[in-house]
Structure formats: C-alpha cells, structure tokens
C-alpha cells in the first residue's frame, strides 16, 4: 500500500491505495469521489476523464502515484459553493444528457477545451470531445451546450 497526498479540486487529500492503483481507483474507492465514472477501463470511452494540471486525461490509465504534486480537477470541482457553473447549467438546458453516465467525462473534456480554446468552431468542439463516447444523446445537445457556453463567455 502507498500513502499518497493528492491535490483534488483545490484541497490536499491523503489517500492510502495499492501502489499500482490508477488515478480512477484512488478517486473512486480511495477518496469515495464517485462522480468520475468507470466505463471501459481501457481508455476508449472517456467516462473517467479528469483534469491533471489542467489537461484532460483518462484517469483509468494514469497511475495515482504519478499524480502527486499535480492539480487534479474532477466533476465535483466544477460547482462553486453548491451552485452549478454555466457549463453544467447549459448541459441541462440543451438536453446534453440522458442517462448521465458520460456526463462527468464530457464536462471535464469540455472544460479543458474551453480553457485552451474559448471560441471553438463546431469542428473544434467535436475534436475536443474525441476521447469521449455517449450512447444516449447522439452528441448534438452536448455540442450545443458547449457552443452556448463559449458564446456566453464562460
């Protein structure tokens, strides 16, 4: 077992996990933060997407031990004081979710996209979500929500 100190959503958290634990395992089972989802465990679906140092990564293929000293942002970190942020509100407004399982991953990928490209074209939005699959919505609502967020200036 390894004792790790992880920076998650601005907090310094201590977690004890197996040395070979993935970041996904450390977040979900180690810290009880189940907002990040386990979809495929093979880096194909993106349900496990979190930000590591501001960059969207698939936490199912990142070793937890490698994340010490880096800022980790999860879906739980998007709300401010219990209030949904603009992106989250627009996801609801534009029907960007049904079952919601891909949603945390989509939100994190979208957050990373808008940080590096505040005014993406539709093609750039699609490219930014290249690592995220959705089986319910057909993606249109997700693209609309992200574009609406970009238009409103985040």
């Amino acid at each position: 077992m390894a004792k790790l100190e992880l920076q998650v959503n601005g907090d310094t958290l201590d977690v004890e996990v197996a040395e070979i634990s993935l970041l996904l395992d450390a977040l979900r089972e180690g810290l009880g933060m189940t907002g990040t989802k386990r979809g495929c465990e093979t880096s194909h679906c993106g349900a496990c997407t979190v930000l590591l140092g501001g960059v969207a990564v698939h936490s199912c293929v990142v070793l937890a031990a490698r994340c010490e000293g880096k800022a980790i942002t999860t879906v739980e970190g998007l709300s401010q004081d219990g209030e949904l942020n603009d992106l989250q509100r627009l996801f609801l407004k534009h029907g960007a979710l049904q079952c919601g399982y891909c949603t945390p991953g989509m939100l994190m990928a979208a957050t990373a996209l808008l940080r590096r490209n505040p005014k993406p074209t539709l093609e750039e939005v699609k490219g930014g979500l290249d690592g995220n699959l959705c089986r319910c919505t057909g993606y249109t609502g997700i693209f609309e929500a992200i574009q609406a967020c970009a238009l409103s200036g985040k």
């Binding site: 070979i20 189940t34 907002g35 709300s79 949904l84 949603t103």
Partner: protein, 172 residues
C-alpha cells in the same frame, strides 16, 4: 355573431419546459449509479475468459490462485450445479464445462476483498486449451460434417417444437 374570445386553458405541464428532475445531480457528479454504492465489506469479482471461439478445456488448475493472499474464493464449473441458462433456449453454462464455445466465455471467477488482488489471482489460474474448429455461419453449422457445438442439444430446454428429428434439417 359578435366577438368570441376563446379562453385558453392553462396546463401545469403541457407547453411548459420540464427540467430533468435528477439533472443537477448528474452534472455535479452527485448522482449515485449502481457501482457508486461502495458498501463496507464489498467483495470484488474477476472473471477469467476463453480467448478461443471453440476449445476443449484440457486442464484447469486453480490452486495457485486460491493460495494468493487476499483471495476469498475461486470457482469453476466443478463448483457449481450443472445448470444451463438462456432466455428461451437454455444452452449456456454459467461457467464453461469441458468446452469453451465463444471468445469471452467465462471459465473461472475469482473473489477477493481488493480489485487488484482479484485481477492478479485471475492470472494465476492455469488453463490448458485444445483449440477446436470454430463455426461462425448458421448455414455452415447445419451442414453435414460441421463442428458439433452442443453434443447434448436434444436434451436442452427451450428448443422450438418442430415435429421432426433434428437430423432431417441437416443440409447434405
């Protein structure tokens, strides 16, 4: 006739936007799905699966897996009743018995208190397969001489009642 103003009825739902009740929970990560309920004492399972579409299981030895620290149980077909499952036609054992009939068929299952231990133990199960000729096409499958996948097919529950012996349906 005079002016008749039609009074529009007011509805509580029709014509109104209906926000998703659970929407806020889903976008904030607070919504709990089945796998998000982590109860104390949760046991993790890992399944060993056949890499072959058709193979005889010549040897299946779980002793090394059972001895792995943290393993609670390792089960094979020998440990469970010989029940066949299926939706209508009951043709699939829960754990492969003597033969694997598709890539991914469950051969053995490991239970451990830790997911990594279950995964490691799965790799300690010793299996020897003898690859058999697979068949993937239904017309090929009913041609005389095709590999026989189910030796005891006539005993299976859920077969369609077709009134003729199965052999008569084989293509020459």
């Amino acid at each position: 006739m005079g002016n008749m103003e039609v009074k529009q009825p007011s509805y509580s739902s029709i014509g109104k936007s209906a926000p998703r009740i659970e929407g806020a929970k889903k976008v904030s990560g607070a919504a709990l799905y089945t796998a998000d309920h982590l109860l104390p004492g949760t046991v993790w399972g890992k399944v060993l699966r056949s890499p072959y579409a058709h193979a005889r299981i010549k040897r299946l030895d779980t002793e090394r897996a059972k001895a792995h620290p943290g393993v609670l149980a390792v089960l094979t077909a020998a440990d469970i009743p010989a029940v066949l499952t299926g939706r209508r036609l009951r043709d699939m054992p829960m754990l492969a018995r003597e033969r694997a009939r598709f890539i991914g068929e469950k051969i053995a299952v490991v239970a451990a208190a830790d997911r990594n231990v279950a995964e490691e133990a799965g790799q300690l199960i010793d299996v020897d397969y003898e690859e058999l000729t697979p068949v993937f096409d239904p017309l090929a499958a009913i041609t005389e001489g095709a590999p026989e996948l189910h030796e005891r097919l006539a005993e299976y529950q859920g077969l369609p009642q077709i009134g003729k012996p199965l052999k008569k349906y084989l293509l020459p």
